[in-house]
C-alpha cells in the first residue's frame, strides 16, 4: 500500500469516528469559546488593553483545547487496543504518523475556524477580507502544533500522568509557533500594514516542515515493537 493511500485511510478513519460521535468537537470548541470569554472577564471587558492582547488570547484558545484533542487521539487507539492492529498491519510508520497528524490537524483547524467566528464576535472585530489571512496563519500554526503534538501524544499515551505530561512536553517546543503566530495575528488584526506577515509565515512554514520531517522519521521508534 502506498504511503499516500494508507495515510488517507488512517486519517479518514479518525475523522469518521469523530464525525459520527461529534463528542470531542463539541467539548473542544466549548472549551475554546470559554477561554475567549474568561479572558474578557480576566481583563477589563471590551477595553483597549484586552483588544491589544486579543491575538495572544486567540492563540491560547486555539492551543489549550487543542492539547486535549491531542491527548485523546491515541487514547481511543489504546482503549480498544486498535493500536496493535495498526502496528501489525502493513502500514509504513511514517504514513501512520502523517495520517494521525492529518486527522489532528483537520480537527484542530475546524475547531479553530469555529472559534475564530466566536472570537470575531466577542472581541468586536469587523469582518474583513483580512480574516482570510488570519485563517491561513491559523492553519500554518496548527500544523506545526499538530506535528509536534502527534509525536509527543504517542509518547505519553500509555503513561498514567499523560494529562499533565503532554502540556509540559509540548509547550516549550512550540514556543516559536506561538511567537510567530501571535505576532502575525497581531499584524493582521491590529496593524494597518502587513509588512512582517511574510516573515512570520516563513518561520511557521520552516517549523512545520522541520517537525513534519522529524515526526516522519522518528515515529518508527515511538510506536511499534
Amino acid at each position: 500500500m502506498s504511503i499516500l493511500k494508507s495515510l488517507w485511510i488512517l486519517a479518514a478513519k479518525d475523522l469518521r469516528i469523530e464525525y459520527r460521535s461529534r463528542e470531542a468537537f463539541q467539548t473542544t470548541l466549548f472549551f475554546a469559546v470559554l477561554i475567549l470569554i474568561i479572558f474578557q472577564f480576566a481583563f477589563d471587558p471590551g477595553s483597549k488593553a484586552t483588544l491589544e492582547a486579543s491575538p495572544g488570547i486567540l492563540w491560547v484558545a486555539l492551543l489549550f483545547p487543542g492539547m486535549i484533542r491531542l491527548n485523546q487521539s491515541f487514547q481511543m487507539e489504546i482503549e480498544e487496543d486498535s493500536l496493535h492492529g495498526i502496528v501489525l498491519s502493513p502500514v509504513d510508520r511514517g504514513a501512520f504518523f502523517l495520517g494521525k497528524f492529518l486527522a489532528n490537524w483537520v480537527f484542530l483547524a475546524l475547531v479553530g475556524l469555529a472559534s475564530t467566528v466566536a472570537f470575531v464576535v466577542f472581541y468586536n472585530f469587523a469582518p474583513s477580507a483580512r480574516l482570510w489571512w488570519l485563517l491561513v496563519v491559523e492553519l500554518m500554526g496548527l500544523a506545526g502544533f499538530s506535528a509536534v503534538g502527534t509525536v509527543l501524544a504517542a509518547m505519553v499515551a500509555k503513561s498514567s500522568s499523560r494529562e499533565v505530561l503532554l502540556p509540559i512536553l509540548i509547550f516549550p517546543i512550540v514556543i516559536p509557533v506561538i511567537v510567530a503566530a501571535v505576532n502575525a495575528s497581531q499584524e493582521i488584526l491590529l496593524r494597518d500594514d502587513l509588512n512582517t506577515l511574510g516573515t512570520w509565515m516563513q518561520v511557521l512554514g520552516v517549523f512545520d516542515v522541520v517537525y513534519l520531517a522529524a515526526g516522519f522519521v522518528v515515529f518508527e521508534y515511538v510506536v511499534g515493537d
Binding site: I175, V203, F207, Y211, Y221
Partner: protein
C-alpha cells in the same frame, strides 16, 4: 555473584572513575586560574564596573550548556535510536543534567548582571536570554518526562526522541525571538562590549575551566549511572 554484563558495566564504571580522577586536577587548576583571571587579572570594566566580571562565568556556562551538553544529548539520541545501545541513553541523560545545571547558572548570573546594567532582571527582548530560558524549559520537561517512565527500552527510546526534537527547536526559537526583537522597539542594546585582550584571555580561561568541569562531571555521572544500573537490577532480581 555478578553476571557477565554486570562485570562489564562495573568495569566501564571503573574506567569512568579513573578518567574522573585524572581530570580532577586539571579541572581544579583551570577553575583556580579562571577565578584569578576573572577577578584579578582582567581589568575593571569602565562603565559597568565590577559586576561585568560575572560575564566570564556567564559565557562559560552558556557555551558548555548549548555547544557541548545539549548538542551531545542530540547526538546521543540519534546514536541510541541507531545502535540501540544502553550506553547512549546514559550519555544523553548525563549531559541533560549537566547542561541544565549550566543553563541555570547562565540564567541566574545573567539576572544579576542585567539588573544593574540593563536596569531589569529579565530582558525579554534579548533573543539569547529567551533562547536560554526556552532551553531550560525544554530540558526540565525532559527530566520530568524521564522521571515518570519506568526503566526499559521504551524510556530510552522516548528520551532519545525528545532530546532530538528539543535540539531541533534551538535555531527556530532563536530566529523567531530574533525577528520579534528586531521588529519591536529596542529598549536594550548589547553594544559597548568591545573586549580588551586581557578580558578575552580571561573569557577563554573560564570557558576552558567550564569545559574541563563538564568532562569531569560527565565521567562521574556515567560511573554513577552504570553502577546504579547494576544495583537496581540486583535488587529487582532479589525481590522477584
Amino acid at each position: 555473584m555478578w553476571s557477565a554484563t554486570d562485570k562489564i558495566r562495573l568495569r566501564q564504571a571503573e574506567r569512568y572513575l579513573t578518567a574522573a580522577k585524572v581530570l580532577a586536577w586539571p579541572a581544579f587548576l583551570l577553575i583556580l586560574a579562571a577565578l584569578y583571571m576573572a577577578f584579578i587579572y582582567a581589568p575593571r570594566e569602565r562603565q559597568m564596573g565590577e559586576v561585568q566580571r560575572i560575564f566570564y562565568f556567564h559565557i562559560g556556562a552558556a557555551w558548555n550548556a548549548l555547544g557541548v551538553c545539549f548538542l551531545a544529548v542530540f547526538i546521543a539520541g540519534i546514536l541510541y535510536l541507531w545502535k540501540k545501545r544502553r550506553i547512549w541513553d546514559h550519555v544523553g541523560a548525563s549531559f541533560v543534567e549537566i547542561g541544565l545545571a549550566y543553563t541555570t547558572i547562565n540564567l541566574t548570573t545573567g539576572m544579576f548582571w542585567a539588573r544593574p546594567v540593563w536596569n531589569t532582571w529579565w530582558p525579554w527582548g534579548d533573543p539569547r536570554v529567551t533562547l536560554m530560558l526556552v532551553l531550560w524549559l525544554i530540558y526540565v520537561a525532559y527530566m520530568i518526562f524521564r522521571s515518570t517512565m519506568p526503566d526499559g527500552e521504551k524510556k530510552y527510546k522516548y528520551c532519545a526522541v525528545f532530546g532530538i526534537i528539543g535540539f531541533l527547536d534551538v535555531p527556530l526559537v532563536y530566529v523567531s525571538i530574533h525577528i520579534w526583537r528586531t521588529i519591536h522597539p529596542k529598549v536594550i542594546t548589547s553594544e559597548g562590549m568591545a573586549l580588551e585582550t586581557p578580558m578575552i584571555m580571561a573569557l577563554f580561561t573560564s570557558m576552558a575551566a567550564f569545559t574541563a568541569l563538564t568532562a569531569l562531571l560527565f565521567c562521574l555521572r556515567m560511573a554513577m549511572r552504570l553502577q546504579r544500573t547494576v544495583v537496581l537490577e540486583r535488587l529487582y532480581e532479589e525481590t522477584v
